[in-house]
Amino acid sequence: MAHVKYVSATRVYAKDAPPAVDALDLDIRDGEFMVLVGPSGSGKTTALRMLAGLEPLDGGRIEIGDKDVTFVPPKDRDIAMVFQNYALYPQKSVADNMGFALKMQHVPRDERDRRVREAARLLDLDDKLLERKPKQLSGGQRQRVAMGRAIVREPKVFLMDEPLSNLDAKLRVQTRSQIAELQRRLGITTVYVTHDQVEAMTMGNRVAVLSGGKLQQCDTPRQLYDNPVNQFVAGFIGSPAMNLQTVPLTGDGAELAGATLPLPAAVRSAAQQAGLRELVLGIRPEHMHLANGAGELAGEVMLVEELGADALLHVRLTQGGASVVARAEGRKPPGPGQRVTFHVQPDDVFAFHPVTGARLAG
């Protein structure tokens, strides 16, 4: 168990291309479950592989515990990794797969068998599966064997590269909580990569959002949701996504679909200092409250997605024609074609710089 540090870690592939990972600074505490999330190409997998030692660093360093492991080969870093496609050894039995690393460490056979059996029990892997080969297992079983292979090693750090992406939806939800539970029990520092922000939010102690090789924000899920530091994080975290619109500034606030939404003084002065005439407004769907004709934003319902407990309304605002999504009660949502109005609390409105995307004041 140890803490992990990325210090200005950089990886460049082609000489004149932008870095795949650009000066990443990340402090992961001992025993923490840290999720690296971002769209494809964001550098999250590369960053994980740099920690594993499977990608070299072109700049900066990586520390595990208090040791600088930048030039240490993977096998000496005391880490274990779960690969996206599991990467199980095809010709070895499940037991041999899980015990392989221990065999490389010259751990005696009975100790090896004991630890393998223990890990198998922890993961609900039946004893008779131990002698089977990977190709005789189901996808879910293979995933557990991949996890078992990592657990058996009792490493300092767990690395997981999108381990749930090959499972069907139901199994994914089930396994998600199992992994989180397991990590809590074992207490091993875990770095987990995913492109699914729902996974990130539900599993991580903290979540690092990456885009274009750069770290956007690293915070608890709650903080990321309530206090996104820029437009990218605001739009990436939360499902359905936050409504984002470029709107002009007026005297007291910003003008959206004919209505003036008041902005706090701090935001207004920040905008003024930056010399802005317009900015990007962000409003989460659940903050658009149906107002029975009395709301300041008016529009027509184009499409209703009924989810059972709630409904998502795709609305086209009358003035200006902007499209927004609003969350409504599931029981009797307005139907398509219906005219509706919304009210938004001033506190629920986010403002972002139209060019840099940075959050204005707040």
Partner: protein, 288 residues
């Protein structure tokens, strides 16, 4: 120095691990080159000796520098006429026949298989396993009685039978690689068996057909045993030409080298140029 500039400079310098990486790669490359050249040496020596005058070909120590001459090549080219013609006819003829027979047969053993396709495939392979040498005496007698002795047609017939099993094995494996969705889409579009074959399968497997044809060409061109025993002059092929370049007495090494070079170069060149195709055919066709 600003942080940005420092970062830029670090990106330009090779990182410490990289030097060790590069020298490892270079070392490996050197070993590979040495091994390859050593392995290739006999071929190199053959070609080199072909340019020697006979007096320089049988010396001790062997000569690496000498004044090259085309005399032996001229001799070879003045004599090779009928032989190379026969080789070309036998090779091209048998390869065409192999493809004509083999493509439909492979089709019947892969895409729309017959009932006992496993047995059919096994039958073809088994003919390859039986040594042709076993039947050479009776074969001679049959050829004699059928007036096919010393006939190029005999060679075409026999070479086709020789290469057909291998061709079927290879073409079949290439046909199995055609994605079934493609075939299903064609069927939905109303394609019958023939359209399916010409419109979908042939285009997709054409690289595989090329590599199969290449392998047939190699084996047919290089074949000695049947040519030696069943031909005399009217159908004598390049391997026979090569043997004839070894006289009972007298110096012959340079002449032999020239003949060997000329005899081997066509297939070597074809193999080099179509290397990727050949490798793929050999490895893939063999594996499946």
């Amino acid at each position: 120095m600003t942080a940005v500039a420092a970062r830029a400079q670090r990106a330009r310098e090779p990182r410490p691990g990289r030097v060790r990486e590069m020298s490892g790669k270079v070392g490996w490359g050197i070993v590979a080159w040495v091994v390859a050249i050593a392995f290739f040496l006999p071929v190199l020596w053959m070609v080199l000796t072909a340019f020697k005058p006979e007096s320089a070909a049988e010396t001790w120590p062997p000569k690496f520098t000498f004044s090259p001459t085309l005399a032996e090549f001229r001799l070879v080219f003045s004599g090779w006429g009928p032989y190379v013609t026969h080789s070309l006819v036998a090779t091209v003829g048998s390869t065409i026949l192999v493809l004509l027979l083999g493509v439909p047969a492979s089709y019947a053993l892969s895409v729309h298989p017959v009932g006992h396709w496993r047995d059919g495939l096994f039958f073809f392979i088994s003919t390859k396993m039986l040594p042709i040498v076993a039947a050479i005496g009776p074969l001679y007698v049959i050829a004699l009685k059928a007036h096919l002795l010393d006939s190029i047609w005999l060679l075409i017939i026999l070479y086709t039978a020789m290469n057909l099993p291998l061709a079927i094995w290879m073409i079949r494996s290439f046909m199995l690689e055609v994605p079934s969705e493609l075939l299903e889409a064609a069927r939905l579009d109303g394609a019958g068996r023939i359209r399916e074959m010409t419109g979908v399968i042939m285009p997709v497997i054409s690289p595989g057909l090329v590599s199969t044809a290449l392998i047939c060409v190699i084996f047919a061109w290089n074949e000695l045993f049947l040519a030696l025993n069943l031909t005399v002059t009217n159908a004598a092929t390049m391997p026979m030409f090569l043997i004839s370049s070894v006289p009972q007495e007298g110096l012959y090494i340079a002449h032999l080298s020239a003949a060997a070079t000329v005899a081997s170069v066509p297939v070597i060149l074809v193999g080099w140029i179509a290397q990727r195709s050949l490798v793929r055919g050999l490895a893939m066709g063999a594996i499946k």
